[in-house]
Amino acid sequence: MNRNTPEEDIAGEIDRAKASKTGRDFLLKLLDKSQEIYAGRASYQVDRIRGYAIASFEVVGLSELALPHVLEELDNGHSPYLIAASAKALRGWRSKDIFPSNFLIKALTNIGHKDDCTSFESYWPNAKPSGVTTATREILLTLQWMGGRAKDSLVFLKRFRNGEIYSISSENRQLVQETIDKIYHSNSFTGSCCQVVSSKQLPKYLTIKSLMEIKLQDQEGDILRFKDFFAGHLTVVVFFYTRCDNPNRCSLTISKLAQIQTSLSNKGLSRVRLAAITYDPSYDINTRLKEYTLNRGLIHNDNCKVLRTLEHRQNQIADFFNLQVNYRDTVVNHHSIELFIINSNGYVIQSFTQFEINSEDVVNAIEKCHLNFSNRSNYISHFANGAISYLMLLFPKCPLCWATYMSALGLSGVSWLNYDPNLIWVLSAFAAINMALIFFRLRSQKSYALFFILLASYLLLIGSIVFGLPVMWRYIASGLIAIFTFWYILAVQTVWLEEQWDKLKLRLLNYRT
């Protein structure tokens, strides 16, 4: 499936995924906004595809990986179709003890009088659809489905019913009353939620060094390189574009950045750098960027700039931050809220994505980082880490390595211990721990080849013991494990060394400036 796949084919695939038990992975993939499938499409097509896929989670069950995407639409989406779909999808959430009713309440507040009729019975919109529903209706039905787990929402629902939030139609009033009654009369557990973690996690030790030479233009029209503003400074960076038609996203993000600016200034942290980068550099020329951000309270100065990339380097930035954005041609067709904190060493240390930015959380994170940075003992620990790291090349240094060494050596010695049936399970457990740790470590680097080679070697070894294959197979398997485990240690340490080198370079750069 790609940008050229006709909508009917995608819709058919979603229908098939909905019907099969294994279809969830396909649906999950469609939640990623940067997927190729969304490129080159109008926003309403993107919304239709995503909404149809999201609504399917009601049937196939909503996984933890899909949950943040669904909550994102409830938190700050503005398409009635996507909000209705998200409310439906939540009814596929199987967790009994917690439930994000606060997101449903927020969606009710957001949708206001912009709600619309819609239907999920077929993919295409219709002037007279069957199974017609609205976002408000789906939200209320989900609250009903939650029953007692939505007790936290009762105060809001009563005010909503009374028209205190905004005016409400008689049929919605009746539905709200039914919802209140169902929640009241439910005996189920009252749970409140929710610290939902964004589905987007950037790899650890992600450094901005690859972006340093990118040419940017600021709101005054001045040209600078990425490194000129970002290198050696604790920086908050947000993404937005001035043609965004969802006021809950870009417009609010810039207002929040302005709030962060004020808070930082009040806390004596006005030297922390703030950057807002447009998703739409060809349209958002510097004068537009200046007016837009100025009108939302942002004060431009040496530590606060609004930027656009030059020389078509936007993709590089999008890839680096894994930006959840896609384009019809040169125009953004959908995107998320995205804020990152980059420390003075150039590492992305925290992301605030998908959900409305809480300026207080961002300021707290900055304060924490600032404290760490200003602690001089930190430098010593950095140095110590550097020295120790060389020892780590030769010596076991952490639980991961202990497990690695023990399982590698242990399993390779298993051939001489084949008369003790209990020990093989202990050593297999070590092998499993080792493989799990290796998996998680390699996953952050998106490199799985080594993991699969090692897994195959372990399986060969264990298989040769269990099925009583000739001893030669055990030697081969043990040899493979020994070689590739050492290879893995080297690979991990090489990355670590590279990171130390980058840090040193950044320090030098900072020193120069």
């Binding site: 080159g40 499409r41 109008a42 926003s43 309403y44 097509q45 919304d47 239709r48 009635p80 179709y81 009088h113 912009k114 709600d115 619309d116 009729c117 295409w124 919109p125 219709n126 002037a127 007279k128 017609v132 609205t134 408000t136 905004y166 005016s167 409400i168 139609s169 008689s170 919605n172 043609r243 038609d245 060809s282 349209y283 004068t287 019809r328 041609d329 040169t330 125009v331 953004v332 067709n333």
Partner: protein, 330 residues
């Protein structure tokens, strides 16, 4: 005593008396349709409880002339501010294929005006939108369908956008002419139409459509679009309005590129004077024109050209341009 204030108060009172008489005439079923409709013109809105009840009866009376029912509906518009049942009834009638077209048209005015101040309608926006979509499918009146399409398009409605796109690809299925379809689709920057504009501009069914396609390319920072706008602007055989709208587009997308071409067009004696006037006007209201403002050679030539011109319009527009833009040159 201020006689001006007295006269205003007096005119309000006199008008109130005349209004009462007109309302009485409009409500009088014995009077002819013409008399009643003439009376309606000065009725204003029906505000008192008894007036509202009578007007409601007339509006819903299938035995009444449609024109009288439609007028009664129009006069009830302020009743939609607070009455849920009235708004619900109007939405139901709008979506009903059986409702007479003239009545539907009046209801459409009342409901759309009520979007500017009726809480009951705001809370029923989904039903109103759905009724508008029904109008697209069921109304026999081209005018009513066009209005419904426009109200939906202004809200970036997906259904109407898909329908308009279908019409652009299959002109025989189009519910509006292609130039109107482009205009309605361009209410949404994120719509599909922008993907086909270059194609339409290259092979337009008529001049209006070409104008609309080129005008809306202005959103597109793609070099191909910029190239097409520049090529069209430089083509002296092209219609001057089309050339000017390309200039306005380029002024947003690439002001430097535009200014080079504009310099030539402004000093060319064989150029269309109307185009030159429009270009000077556009230069005057452009923010980024340093290439023309600071080119003293060009400014001298332009001054001479304008002074020698026989067109008063050109002279006047040049003067306005010079007054605001050329302080340094002076």
């Amino acid at each position: 005593m201020d006689s001006y204030k007295d006269s205003v108060k007096r005119s309000i009172k006199e008008n109130r008396d005349n209004t009462q008489k007109a309302i009485k005439d409009f409500f009088d079923r014995k009077k002819t349709e013409e008399v009643r409709l003439n009376a309606f013109k000065v009725c204003g809105t029906f505000n008192r409880e008894n007036e509202i009840q009578t007007a409601l009866e007339i509006a819903n009376d299938k035995g009444e002339k449609i024109s009288i029912r439609a007028a009664a509906m129009m006069g009830l518009v302020n009743y939609a501010k607070n009455s849920e049942s009235f708004v619900e009834d109007l939405i139901q009638k709008l979506g009903n294929a059986e409702t007479p077209e003239m009545l539907k048209s009046a209801i459409l005015s009342v409901l759309q005006a009520s979007t500017f101040g009726s809480a009951p309608l705001s809370s029923r926006m989904p039903s109103y939108n759905q009724a508008l979509r029904s109008v697209l499918e069921t109304s026999n009146s081209e005018e009513t369908r066009l209005r419904a399409a426009e109200y939906l398009a202004l809200k970036k409605d997906e259904y109407v956008q898909r329908k308009l796109m279908d019409g652009l690809s299959n002109p025989e299925k189009g519910m509006v002419p292609p130039e109107v379809a482009i205009q309605l689709l361009s209410y949404d920057l994120h719509s599909e139409v922008y993907l086909v504009l270059r194609k339409i501009a290259a092979n337009p069914p008529n001049l209006r459509t070409k104008k609309e396609a080129l005008r809306n390319l202005t959103h597109d920072t793609n070099p191909e679009s910029i190239g097409l706008l520049l090529k069209t602007f430089n083509d002296k055989a092209e219609n001057e309005e089309v050339r000017h709208l390309c200039a306005v587009g380029l002024q947003s997308l690439d002001p430097k590129l535009l200014q080079e071409s504009v310099k030539n067009a402004l000093l060319d004696k064989s150029e269309n004077v109307e185009l030159q006037v429009a270009l000077l006007n556009t230069l005057n209201y452009s923010a980024n024109t340093t290439l023309t403002d600071e080119d003293l050679g060009f400014q001298r030539k332009l001054q001479n050209f304008a002074n020698a011109s026989k067109s008063e319009k050109l002279k006047k527009t040049y003067q306005q341009y010079a007054d605001t833009k050329l302080k340094n040159f002076k």
